[in-house]
Symmetry: none
Subunit: 124 residues, 4 copies
Amino acid sequence: MTIEFDNNQPIYLQIMNYLKGEIITGKLKPGDKIPSVRELAAELQINPNTVQRTFQELEREEIVETRRGMGRYVTGKEETIMNIKKEMARDILDRFIRGMQELGFQSEEIVTAVAENIAAKDRK
Amino acid sequence: MTIEFDNNQPIYLQIMNYLKGEIITGKLKPGDKIPSVRELAAELQINPNTVQRTFQELEREEIVETRRGMGRYVTGKEETIMNIKKEMARDILDRFIRGMQELGFQSEEIVTAVAENIAAKDRK
Amino acid sequence: MTIEFDNNQPIYLQIMNYLKGEIITGKLKPGDKIPSVRELAAELQINPNTVQRTFQELEREEIVETRRGMGRYVTGKEETIMNIKKEMARDILDRFIRGMQELGFQSEEIVTAVAENIAAKDRK
Amino acid sequence: MTIEFDNNQPIYLQIMNYLKGEIITGKLKPGDKIPSVRELAAELQINPNTVQRTFQELEREEIVETRRGMGRYVTGKEETIMNIKKEMARDILDRFIRGMQELGFQSEEIVTAVAENIAAKDRK
DNA sequence: GTGGTCTAGACCACA
DNA sequence: GTGGTCTAGACCACA
Protein backbone atom coordinates (compact mmCIF):
# COMPACT_ATOMS: atom_id res chain seq x y z
CA MET A 1 0.00 0.00 0.00
CA THR A 2 1.44 3.28 -1.15
CA ILE A 3 -0.13 6.64 -1.69
CA GLU A 4 1.48 9.42 -3.61
CA PHE A 5 0.81 12.43 -1.51
CA ASP A 6 0.00 15.67 -3.19
CA ASN A 7 0.73 18.89 -1.38
CA ASN A 8 -2.53 20.63 -2.13
CA GLN A 9 -4.67 18.52 0.12
CA PRO A 10 -4.30 17.48 3.75
CA ILE A 11 -2.68 14.08 4.08
CA TYR A 12 -5.46 12.75 6.26
CA LEU A 13 -7.98 13.56 3.52
CA GLN A 14 -5.87 11.87 0.89
CA ILE A 15 -5.70 8.70 2.96
CA MET A 16 -9.44 8.90 3.55
CA ASN A 17 -10.15 9.16 -0.14
CA TYR A 18 -7.76 6.35 -0.88
CA LEU A 19 -9.42 4.04 1.62
CA LYS A 20 -12.89 5.03 0.51
CA GLY A 21 -11.85 4.13 -3.01
CA GLU A 22 -10.56 0.73 -1.89
CA ILE A 23 -13.83 0.05 -0.09
CA ILE A 24 -16.15 1.34 -2.78
CA THR A 25 -14.43 -0.61 -5.50
CA GLY A 26 -14.50 -3.73 -3.34
CA LYS A 27 -10.78 -4.13 -2.81
CA LEU A 28 -11.51 -3.80 0.87
CA LYS A 29 -14.65 -5.76 1.65
CA PRO A 30 -17.25 -5.34 4.40
CA GLY A 31 -15.87 -6.85 7.59
CA ASP A 32 -12.24 -6.70 6.46
CA LYS A 33 -9.75 -5.59 9.07
CA ILE A 34 -7.92 -2.40 8.21
CA PRO A 35 -4.37 -1.78 9.39
CA SER A 36 -3.79 -0.46 12.90
CA VAL A 37 -2.87 3.15 13.44
CA ARG A 38 0.76 2.27 14.08
CA GLU A 39 1.04 -0.11 11.15
CA LEU A 40 -0.35 2.29 8.62
CA ALA A 41 1.69 5.18 10.02
CA ALA A 42 4.87 3.15 9.63
CA GLU A 43 3.93 2.00 6.15
CA LEU A 44 3.09 5.46 4.86
CA GLN A 45 5.88 7.03 6.89
CA ILE A 46 3.67 9.58 8.49
CA ASN A 47 2.79 10.43 12.03
CA PRO A 48 0.35 8.13 13.88
CA ASN A 49 -1.75 11.13 14.83
CA THR A 50 -2.44 11.83 11.21
CA VAL A 51 -3.60 8.27 10.63
CA GLN A 52 -5.67 8.46 13.78
CA ARG A 53 -7.46 11.46 12.41
CA THR A 54 -8.15 9.69 9.13
CA PHE A 55 -9.70 6.76 10.92
CA GLN A 56 -11.80 8.93 13.17
CA GLU A 57 -13.29 10.67 10.18
CA LEU A 58 -14.03 7.36 8.48
CA GLU A 59 -15.69 6.20 11.65
CA ARG A 60 -17.80 9.31 11.82
CA GLU A 61 -19.00 8.51 8.31
CA GLU A 62 -19.72 4.99 9.54
CA ILE A 63 -17.53 3.43 6.90
CA VAL A 64 -15.28 1.90 9.50
CA GLU A 65 -16.00 0.39 12.93
CA THR A 66 -13.77 0.04 15.94
CA ARG A 67 -13.83 -3.13 17.99
CA ARG A 68 -12.19 -2.23 21.26
CA GLY A 69 -8.71 -3.57 21.57
CA MET A 70 -9.16 -5.61 18.42
CA GLY A 71 -8.64 -3.07 15.71
CA ARG A 72 -10.77 -1.47 13.06
CA TYR A 73 -12.94 -3.06 10.42
CA VAL A 74 -14.75 -2.02 7.26
CA THR A 75 -18.41 -1.66 8.19
CA GLY A 76 -20.53 -4.76 7.62
CA LYS A 77 -23.43 -2.61 6.42
CA GLU A 78 -23.20 -2.85 2.66
CA GLU A 79 -25.97 -0.32 2.40
CA THR A 80 -23.81 2.35 4.02
CA ILE A 81 -21.11 1.66 1.48
CA MET A 82 -23.52 1.87 -1.43
CA ASN A 83 -24.86 5.15 -0.09
CA ILE A 84 -21.39 6.60 0.20
CA LYS A 85 -20.71 5.65 -3.37
CA LYS A 86 -23.94 7.20 -4.59
CA GLU A 87 -23.38 10.34 -2.57
CA MET A 88 -19.87 10.76 -3.86
CA ALA A 89 -20.93 10.20 -7.45
CA ARG A 90 -23.80 12.64 -7.23
CA ASP A 91 -21.56 15.17 -5.64
CA ILE A 92 -18.94 14.90 -8.33
CA LEU A 93 -21.56 15.03 -11.06
CA ASP A 94 -23.34 18.05 -9.65
CA ARG A 95 -20.17 19.98 -9.18
CA PHE A 96 -19.10 19.15 -12.71
CA ILE A 97 -22.32 20.15 -14.38
CA ARG A 98 -22.61 23.32 -12.36
CA GLY A 99 -19.02 24.21 -13.22
CA MET A 100 -19.54 23.69 -16.93
CA GLN A 101 -22.77 25.67 -16.94
CA GLU A 102 -21.07 28.53 -15.16
CA LEU A 103 -18.57 28.56 -18.00
CA GLY A 104 -21.46 29.01 -20.38
CA PHE A 105 -21.63 25.51 -21.87
CA GLN A 106 -24.97 24.23 -23.11
CA SER A 107 -26.31 20.82 -22.13
CA GLU A 108 -25.40 19.09 -25.39
CA GLU A 109 -21.94 20.61 -25.38
CA ILE A 110 -21.32 19.18 -21.95
CA VAL A 111 -22.36 15.67 -22.91
CA THR A 112 -20.28 15.84 -26.09
CA ALA A 113 -17.26 17.11 -24.21
CA VAL A 114 -17.40 14.23 -21.76
CA ALA A 115 -17.90 11.63 -24.47
CA GLU A 116 -15.01 12.93 -26.55
CA ASN A 117 -12.69 13.39 -23.64
CA ILE A 118 -13.27 9.88 -22.34
CA ALA A 119 -12.90 8.38 -25.77
CA ALA A 120 -9.59 10.21 -26.15
CA LYS A 121 -8.38 8.94 -22.80
CA ASP A 122 -9.43 5.37 -23.49
CA ARG A 123 -7.46 5.41 -26.73
CA LYS A 124 -4.29 6.13 -24.80
CA MET B 1 -23.56 41.08 -6.57
CA THR B 2 -23.54 38.41 -3.93
CA ILE B 3 -21.54 35.23 -3.58
CA GLU B 4 -22.44 32.42 -1.25
CA PHE B 5 -19.16 31.59 0.32
CA ASP B 6 -18.31 28.01 1.01
CA ASN B 7 -15.99 27.30 3.89
CA ASN B 8 -13.92 24.69 2.16
CA GLN B 9 -12.23 27.02 -0.27
CA PRO B 10 -10.36 30.27 0.24
CA ILE B 11 -12.57 33.26 -0.26
CA TYR B 12 -10.18 34.88 -2.72
CA LEU B 13 -10.43 31.78 -4.96
CA GLN B 14 -14.19 31.84 -4.81
CA ILE B 15 -14.28 35.47 -5.89
CA MET B 16 -11.77 34.73 -8.64
CA ASN B 17 -13.93 31.96 -9.99
CA TYR B 18 -16.99 34.10 -9.78
CA LEU B 19 -15.37 36.92 -11.72
CA LYS B 20 -13.89 34.53 -14.26
CA GLY B 21 -17.38 33.16 -14.79
CA GLU B 22 -18.76 36.66 -15.36
CA ILE B 23 -16.05 37.36 -17.88
CA ILE B 24 -16.19 34.08 -19.72
CA THR B 25 -19.93 34.20 -20.10
CA GLY B 26 -19.71 37.77 -21.30
CA LYS B 27 -21.50 39.46 -18.43
CA LEU B 28 -18.28 41.36 -17.94
CA LYS B 29 -16.92 42.29 -21.35
CA PRO B 30 -13.36 42.99 -22.50
CA GLY B 31 -12.50 46.54 -21.49
CA ASP B 32 -15.18 46.77 -18.80
CA LYS B 33 -14.17 48.46 -15.59
CA ILE B 34 -14.31 46.25 -12.54
CA PRO B 35 -15.12 47.55 -9.06
CA SER B 36 -12.37 48.97 -6.86
CA VAL B 37 -10.94 46.98 -3.98
CA ARG B 38 -12.84 49.08 -1.47
CA GLU B 39 -16.11 48.92 -3.31
CA LEU B 40 -16.04 45.18 -3.73
CA ALA B 41 -14.87 44.60 -0.16
CA ALA B 42 -17.75 46.68 1.16
CA GLU B 43 -20.24 44.96 -1.10
CA LEU B 44 -19.18 41.45 -0.17
CA GLN B 45 -18.48 42.38 3.43
CA ILE B 46 -15.04 40.92 3.44
CA ASN B 47 -11.56 42.11 4.21
CA PRO B 48 -10.06 44.43 1.56
CA ASN B 49 -6.86 42.37 1.75
CA THR B 50 -8.82 39.46 0.39
CA VAL B 51 -10.13 41.42 -2.57
CA GLN B 52 -6.65 42.75 -3.18
CA ARG B 53 -5.36 39.24 -3.38
CA THR B 54 -8.12 38.24 -5.79
CA PHE B 55 -7.22 41.06 -8.15
CA GLN B 56 -3.52 40.30 -7.95
CA GLU B 57 -4.16 36.75 -9.03
CA LEU B 58 -6.43 37.83 -11.85
CA GLU B 59 -3.72 40.20 -12.99
CA ARG B 60 -1.12 37.48 -12.85
CA GLU B 61 -3.35 35.45 -15.16
CA GLU B 62 -3.65 38.54 -17.33
CA ILE B 63 -7.41 38.53 -17.17
CA VAL B 64 -7.48 41.93 -15.59
CA GLU B 65 -5.32 44.97 -16.20
CA THR B 66 -4.57 47.94 -14.01
CA ARG B 67 -4.53 51.37 -15.55
CA ARG B 68 -2.70 53.72 -13.24
CA GLY B 69 -5.06 55.99 -11.42
CA MET B 70 -8.01 54.79 -13.48
CA GLY B 71 -8.84 51.49 -11.91
CA ARG B 72 -8.87 47.95 -13.16
CA TYR B 73 -10.33 46.64 -16.41
CA VAL B 74 -11.14 43.31 -17.99
CA THR B 75 -8.38 42.54 -20.47
CA GLY B 76 -9.01 43.50 -24.05
CA LYS B 77 -7.30 40.35 -25.33
CA GLU B 78 -10.12 38.06 -26.24
CA GLU B 79 -7.68 35.27 -26.85
CA THR B 80 -6.65 35.30 -23.20
CA ILE B 81 -10.25 34.96 -22.20
CA MET B 82 -10.82 32.07 -24.58
CA ASN B 83 -7.77 30.34 -23.21
CA ILE B 84 -8.92 30.75 -19.66
CA LYS B 85 -12.22 29.26 -20.61
CA LYS B 86 -10.58 26.27 -22.24
CA GLU B 87 -8.26 25.74 -19.32
CA MET B 88 -11.03 25.88 -16.79
CA ALA B 89 -13.18 23.52 -18.80
CA ARG B 90 -10.39 21.00 -19.23
CA ASP B 91 -9.64 21.21 -15.54
CA ILE B 92 -13.21 20.58 -14.53
CA LEU B 93 -13.55 17.77 -17.01
CA ASP B 94 -10.38 16.03 -15.93
CA ARG B 95 -11.23 16.24 -12.28
CA PHE B 96 -14.67 14.87 -13.00
CA ILE B 97 -13.55 11.91 -15.07
CA ARG B 98 -10.79 11.02 -12.65
CA GLY B 99 -13.24 11.18 -9.76
CA MET B 100 -15.76 8.91 -11.43
CA GLN B 101 -13.11 6.43 -12.43
CA GLU B 102 -11.84 6.29 -8.87
CA LEU B 103 -15.35 5.34 -7.82
CA GLY B 104 -15.17 2.42 -10.21
CA PHE B 105 -17.35 3.74 -13.01
CA GLN B 106 -16.70 2.56 -16.57
CA SER B 107 -16.40 4.96 -19.50
CA GLU B 108 -19.89 4.34 -20.84
CA GLU B 109 -21.42 4.57 -17.41
CA ILE B 110 -19.89 7.99 -16.98
CA VAL B 111 -21.24 9.30 -20.27
CA THR B 112 -24.69 7.89 -19.54
CA ALA B 113 -24.71 9.38 -16.06
CA VAL B 114 -23.92 12.83 -17.38
CA ALA B 115 -26.51 12.62 -20.15
CA GLU B 116 -29.25 11.45 -17.82
CA ASN B 117 -28.41 13.89 -15.11
CA ILE B 118 -28.41 16.85 -17.43
CA ALA B 119 -31.62 15.77 -19.07
CA ALA B 120 -33.22 15.50 -15.64
CA LYS B 121 -32.05 18.96 -14.69
CA ASP B 122 -33.20 20.52 -17.95
CA ARG B 123 -36.66 19.10 -17.40
CA LYS B 124 -36.99 21.03 -14.14
CA MET C 1 -27.71 -14.13 27.36
CA THR C 2 -26.78 -11.33 25.03
CA ILE C 3 -25.66 -7.79 25.64
CA GLU C 4 -25.66 -5.08 23.05
CA PHE C 5 -22.34 -3.48 23.54
CA ASP C 6 -22.02 0.23 23.22
CA ASN C 7 -18.71 1.64 22.09
CA ASN C 8 -18.55 4.50 24.53
CA GLN C 9 -18.11 2.42 27.63
CA PRO C 10 -15.62 -0.32 28.47
CA ILE C 11 -17.05 -3.75 27.85
CA TYR C 12 -16.19 -4.95 31.33
CA LEU C 13 -18.29 -2.15 32.82
CA GLN C 14 -21.19 -2.99 30.57
CA ILE C 15 -21.11 -6.63 31.67
CA MET C 16 -20.81 -5.56 35.29
CA ASN C 17 -23.88 -3.38 35.00
CA TYR C 18 -25.76 -6.12 33.23
CA LEU C 19 -24.97 -8.65 35.95
CA LYS C 20 -25.72 -6.18 38.71
CA GLY C 21 -29.10 -5.60 37.10
CA GLU C 22 -29.79 -9.35 37.02
CA ILE C 23 -28.89 -9.64 40.68
CA ILE C 24 -30.73 -6.56 41.87
CA THR C 25 -33.90 -7.50 40.07
CA GLY C 26 -33.66 -11.02 41.46
CA LYS C 27 -33.13 -12.85 38.19
CA LEU C 28 -29.85 -14.00 39.73
CA LYS C 29 -30.50 -14.85 43.37
CA PRO C 30 -28.15 -14.86 46.36
CA GLY C 31 -26.16 -18.06 46.27
CA ASP C 32 -26.74 -18.70 42.56
CA LYS C 33 -23.76 -19.92 40.60
CA ILE C 34 -22.62 -17.59 37.87
CA PRO C 35 -21.02 -18.78 34.63
CA SER C 36 -17.28 -19.45 34.48
CA VAL C 37 -14.94 -17.04 32.78
CA ARG C 38 -14.60 -19.33 29.80
CA GLU C 39 -18.29 -19.96 29.43
CA LEU C 40 -19.23 -16.32 29.57
CA ALA C 41 -16.41 -15.28 27.25
CA ALA C 42 -17.53 -17.83 24.69
CA GLU C 43 -21.17 -16.84 25.00
CA LEU C 44 -20.53 -13.12 24.61
CA GLN C 45 -17.73 -13.64 22.09
CA ILE C 46 -15.30 -11.48 23.94
CA ASN C 47 -11.84 -11.82 25.35
CA PRO C 48 -11.64 -13.97 28.53
CA ASN C 49 -9.42 -11.27 30.05
CA THR C 50 -12.36 -8.94 29.86
CA VAL C 51 -14.66 -11.33 31.67
CA GLN C 52 -11.97 -11.94 34.25
CA ARG C 53 -11.79 -8.24 34.90
CA THR C 54 -15.55 -8.01 35.26
CA PHE C 55 -15.56 -10.72 37.91
CA GLN C 56 -12.67 -9.17 39.77
CA GLU C 57 -14.54 -5.92 40.07
CA LEU C 58 -17.72 -7.65 41.18
CA GLU C 59 -15.71 -9.44 43.81
CA ARG C 60 -14.14 -6.23 44.98
CA GLU C 61 -17.64 -4.88 45.48
CA GLU C 62 -18.47 -8.12 47.32
CA ILE C 63 -21.37 -8.87 45.05
CA VAL C 64 -19.80 -12.11 43.93
CA GLU C 65 -17.79 -14.69 45.89
CA THR C 66 -15.31 -17.26 44.70
CA ARG C 67 -15.44 -20.73 46.23
CA ARG C 68 -12.18 -22.50 45.51
CA GLY C 69 -12.58 -25.08 42.84
CA MET C 70 -16.34 -24.66 42.78
CA GLY C 71 -16.80 -21.48 40.80
CA ARG C 72 -18.27 -18.11 41.57
CA TYR C 73 -21.54 -17.35 43.32
CA VAL C 74 -23.79 -14.39 43.93
CA THR C 75 -23.15 -13.22 47.49
CA GLY C 76 -25.49 -14.53 50.15
CA LYS C 77 -25.51 -11.20 51.97
CA GLU C 78 -28.76 -9.64 50.95
CA GLU C 79 -27.74 -6.42 52.64
CA THR C 80 -24.84 -5.98 50.24
CA ILE C 81 -27.22 -6.35 47.34
CA MET C 82 -29.63 -3.82 48.77
CA ASN C 83 -26.78 -1.38 49.28
CA ILE C 84 -25.61 -1.77 45.72
CA LYS C 85 -29.10 -1.09 44.52
CA LYS C 86 -29.33 2.07 46.60
CA GLU C 87 -25.93 3.27 45.49
CA MET C 88 -26.69 2.72 41.85
CA ALA C 89 -30.03 4.44 42.11
CA ARG C 90 -28.58 7.45 43.89
CA ASP C 91 -25.85 7.66 41.32
CA ILE C 92 -28.26 7.60 38.40
CA LEU C 93 -30.52 10.12 40.07
CA ASP C 94 -27.74 12.55 40.88
CA ARG C 95 -26.31 12.43 37.42
CA PHE C 96 -29.75 12.97 35.94
CA ILE C 97 -30.65 15.95 38.08
CA ARG C 98 -27.28 17.57 37.61
CA GLY C 99 -27.57 17.08 33.85
CA MET C 100 -30.99 18.66 33.64
CA GLN C 101 -29.96 21.59 35.81
CA GLU C 102 -26.97 22.23 33.61
CA LEU C 103 -29.37 22.48 30.69
CA GLY C 104 -31.19 25.21 32.56
CA PHE C 105 -34.27 23.28 33.70
CA GLN C 106 -36.00 24.33 36.92
CA SER C 107 -36.91 21.86 39.63
CA GLU C 108 -40.58 21.63 38.74
CA GLU C 109 -39.82 21.30 35.07
CA ILE C 110 -37.63 18.30 35.80
CA VAL C 111 -40.28 16.53 37.83
CA THR C 112 -42.92 17.24 35.19
CA ALA C 113 -40.66 16.04 32.40
CA VAL C 114 -40.05 12.73 34.17
CA ALA C 115 -43.71 12.20 34.99
CA GLU C 116 -44.84 12.91 31.44
CA ASN C 117 -42.12 10.91 29.83
CA ILE C 118 -42.80 7.85 31.95
CA ALA C 119 -46.53 8.13 31.41
CA ALA C 120 -45.93 8.30 27.66
CA LYS C 121 -43.73 5.23 27.77
CA ASP C 122 -46.17 3.25 29.89
CA ARG C 123 -48.92 3.95 27.41
CA LYS C 124 -46.97 2.21 24.69
CA MET D 1 -13.78 31.46 32.46
CA THR D 2 -12.61 28.50 34.46
CA ILE D 3 -13.46 24.85 34.22
CA GLU D 4 -12.67 22.37 36.91
CA PHE D 5 -11.38 19.42 35.00
CA ASP D 6 -12.29 15.97 36.16
CA ASN D 7 -10.01 13.12 35.29
CA ASN D 8 -12.67 10.66 34.19
CA GLN D 9 -13.54 12.41 30.98
CA PRO D 10 -11.44 13.76 28.13
CA ILE D 11 -10.68 17.43 28.54
CA TYR D 12 -11.95 18.28 25.09
CA LEU D 13 -15.34 16.80 25.98
CA GLN D 14 -15.49 18.71 29.22
CA ILE D 15 -14.87 21.97 27.41
CA MET D 16 -17.48 21.04 24.82
CA ASN D 17 -20.06 20.39 27.50
CA TYR D 18 -19.15 23.58 29.28
CA LEU D 19 -19.56 25.65 26.12
CA LYS D 20 -22.76 23.88 25.14
CA GLY D 21 -24.10 24.73 28.58
CA GLU D 22 -23.15 28.39 28.15
CA ILE D 23 -24.89 28.48 24.79
CA ILE D 24 -27.99 26.57 25.79
CA THR D 25 -28.55 28.65 28.86
CA GLY D 26 -28.05 31.81 26.84
CA LYS D 27 -24.86 33.03 28.48
CA LEU D 28 -23.32 32.80 25.04
CA LYS D 29 -25.80 34.10 22.49
CA PRO D 30 -26.26 33.33 18.80
CA GLY D 31 -23.67 35.29 16.85
CA ASP D 32 -21.38 35.84 19.83
CA LYS D 33 -17.69 35.45 19.18
CA ILE D 34 -16.04 32.68 21.11
CA PRO D 35 -12.40 32.90 22.19
CA SER D 36 -9.69 31.97 19.70
CA VAL D 37 -7.88 28.68 20.00
CA ARG D 38 -4.83 30.33 21.47
CA GLU D 39 -6.73 32.53 23.87
CA LEU D 40 -8.75 29.72 25.34
CA ALA D 41 -5.74 27.44 25.51
CA ALA D 42 -3.83 30.05 27.47
CA GLU D 43 -6.76 30.75 29.76
CA LEU D 44 -7.43 27.11 30.57
CA GLN D 45 -3.75 26.30 30.57
CA ILE D 46 -4.07 23.44 28.15
CA ASN D 47 -2.61 22.67 24.79
CA PRO D 48 -4.00 24.54 21.76
CA ASN D 49 -4.52 21.23 19.99
CA THR D 50 -6.97 20.15 22.64
CA VAL D 51 -8.96 23.34 22.24
CA GLN D 52 -8.81 22.93 18.49
CA ARG D 53 -10.38 19.52 18.82
CA THR D 54 -13.15 20.89 21.01
CA PHE D 55 -13.99 23.55 18.48
CA GLN D 56 -13.95 21.14 15.58
CA GLU D 57 -16.47 18.92 17.32
CA LEU D 58 -18.70 21.89 18.10
CA GLU D 59 -18.48 22.87 14.48
CA ARG D 60 -19.43 19.42 13.35
CA GLU D 61 -22.52 19.70 15.50
CA GLU D 62 -23.15 23.07 13.87
CA ILE D 63 -23.22 24.88 17.19
CA VAL D 64 -20.30 27.02 16.18
CA GLU D 65 -19.26 28.55 12.86
CA THR D 66 -15.85 29.58 11.60
CA ARG D 67 -15.40 32.79 9.69
CA ARG D 68 -12.07 32.47 7.99
CA GLY D 69 -9.39 34.50 9.61
CA MET D 70 -11.94 36.23 11.81
CA GLY D 71 -12.54 33.69 14.50
CA ARG D 72 -15.41 31.48 15.56
CA TYR D 73 -18.96 32.41 16.43
CA VAL D 74 -21.95 30.81 18.07
CA THR D 75 -24.28 29.76 15.28
CA GLY D 76 -26.91 32.27 14.36
CA LYS D 77 -29.48 29.52 13.84
CA GLU D 78 -31.44 29.55 17.06
CA GLU D 79 -33.28 26.47 15.89
CA THR D 80 -30.08 24.44 15.96
CA ILE D 81 -29.49 25.50 19.53
CA MET D 82 -33.01 24.59 20.58
CA ASN D 83 -32.64 21.22 18.92
CA ILE D 84 -29.40 20.54 20.74
CA LYS D 85 -31.05 21.38 24.00
CA LYS D 86 -34.02 19.11 23.29
CA GLU D 87 -31.77 16.29 22.15
CA MET D 88 -29.60 16.53 25.21
CA ALA D 89 -32.58 16.60 27.53
CA ARG D 90 -34.26 13.63 25.89
CA ASP D 91 -31.02 11.74 26.00
CA ILE D 92 -30.52 12.37 29.70
CA LEU D 93 -34.11 11.52 30.46
CA ASP D 94 -34.11 8.28 28.51
CA ARG D 95 -30.90 7.10 30.04
CA PHE D 96 -32.22 7.90 33.48
CA ILE D 97 -35.53 6.13 33.10
CA ARG D 98 -33.95 3.10 31.48
CA GLY D 99 -31.39 2.93 34.28
CA MET D 100 -34.01 3.06 37.01
CA GLN D 101 -36.17 0.48 35.30
CA GLU D 102 -33.22 -1.86 34.98
CA LEU D 103 -32.82 -1.55 38.73
CA GLY D 104 -36.38 -2.77 39.10
CA PHE D 105 -38.09 0.51 40.00
CA GLN D 106 -41.73 0.99 39.06
CA SER D 107 -42.96 4.10 37.26
CA GLU D 108 -44.42 5.77 40.33
CA GLU D 109 -41.37 4.99 42.38
CA ILE D 110 -39.21 6.76 39.82
CA VAL D 111 -41.33 9.90 39.81
CA THR D 112 -41.43 9.97 43.59
CA ALA D 113 -37.71 9.48 43.87
CA VAL D 114 -37.03 12.42 41.57
CA ALA D 115 -39.51 14.67 43.34
CA GLU D 116 -38.12 13.88 46.78
CA ASN D 117 -34.55 14.12 45.72
CA ILE D 118 -34.99 17.48 44.09
CA ALA D 119 -36.97 18.80 47.03
CA ALA D 120 -34.17 17.70 49.34
CA LYS D 121 -31.57 19.42 47.19
CA ASP D 122 -33.56 22.62 46.92
CA ARG D 123 -33.84 22.77 50.71
CA LYS D 124 -30.07 22.89 51.00
C1' DG E 1 -1.14 -5.06 20.81
C1' DT E 2 -4.87 -1.49 19.90
C1' DG E 3 -7.08 2.72 20.13
C1' DG E 4 -7.70 7.44 22.71
C1' DT E 5 -5.97 11.56 24.52
C1' DC E 6 -2.77 14.97 25.34
C1' DT E 7 1.41 17.98 25.30
C1' DA E 8 4.88 20.78 22.90
C1' DG E 9 5.78 23.03 19.20
C1' DA E 10 6.24 24.05 14.17
C1' DC E 11 4.74 25.82 9.70
C1' DC E 12 1.35 27.36 6.49
C1' DA E 13 -2.64 29.71 4.23
C1' DC E 14 -5.75 33.16 4.92
C1' DA E 15 -7.89 37.68 6.34
C1' DG F 1 -4.09 37.52 14.36
C1' DT F 2 -6.79 33.19 13.24
C1' DG F 3 -7.55 28.63 12.10
C1' DG F 4 -5.64 24.05 9.91
C1' DT F 5 -2.39 20.52 9.65
C1' DC F 6 1.37 17.91 10.98
C1' DT F 7 5.32 15.83 13.56
C1' DA F 8 7.31 13.63 17.66
C1' DG F 9 6.43 11.40 21.36
C1' DA F 10 4.19 10.18 25.84
C1' DC F 11 0.85 7.86 28.80
C1' DC F 12 -3.35 5.43 29.65
C1' DA F 13 -7.32 2.14 29.48
C1' DC F 14 -8.73 -1.81 27.39
C1' DA F 15 -8.70 -6.55 25.29
